[in-house]
Point group: C2
Chain length 103, copies 2
């Protein structure tokens, strides 16, 4: 999923379809690459669950999935939590140290 977000074009597609759904060809018109290339990007995003594609007439409407974004946020939050736990440990060490000094 981070792998899916690793490409700038794909991040842009996510951003865009999160704000307003669009057909694959509408998306493709925005980028300096072939239709097939954009189609592949959408497929990667869909497989990662960042986007869903539903048929409407002869087009496929691409829609960003906010839940997937929140899952990525959760992952980064865990990183922050690990970091804060480290700081807490250091604080505890310092406190134990000054307590020892006052003995």
């Amino acid at each position: 999923m981070f792998r899916a977000l690793a490409d700038a074009t794909r991040r842009d597609i996510v951003r865009r379809t999160l704000s307003a759904e669009a057909s694959v060809s509408e998306l493709a018109a925005s980028y300096e690459m072939s239709f097939a290339a954009v189609q592949k990007h959408v497929a990667v995003l869909e497989e990662a669950g960042l986007v869903s594609k539903l048929p409407r007439g002869r087009e496929r409407i691409v829609r960003g999935n906010p839940d997937a974004i929140r899952r990525a946020q959760f992952c980064l939050d865990q990183f922050e939590a690990v970091w804060r736990a480290r700081i807490d440990r250091l604080d505890a060490l310092l406190e134990a140290d000054s307590a020892q000094e006052s003995d």
Copy 2:
């Protein structure tokens, strides 16, 4: 930077060095791959600013950079903001619609 986080081994290195700094060889001992491979992963993380490497005697101490994590969080927060803006627009449309009905 999302590209740097796209690899599971690298995410683990970030998590680990965020919680406690470690030398490159200490990190390398944890993974089922060669020292050189881990070294490359650390280099990728360093280039992405997710980690910093400082010499201590004959080893290089790797330390996770919490600021970089916050920058990634900020990026995902922007995605959420775009999403919420879309919902707000839809709400406004619905409200305008019901106002028209009551005419």
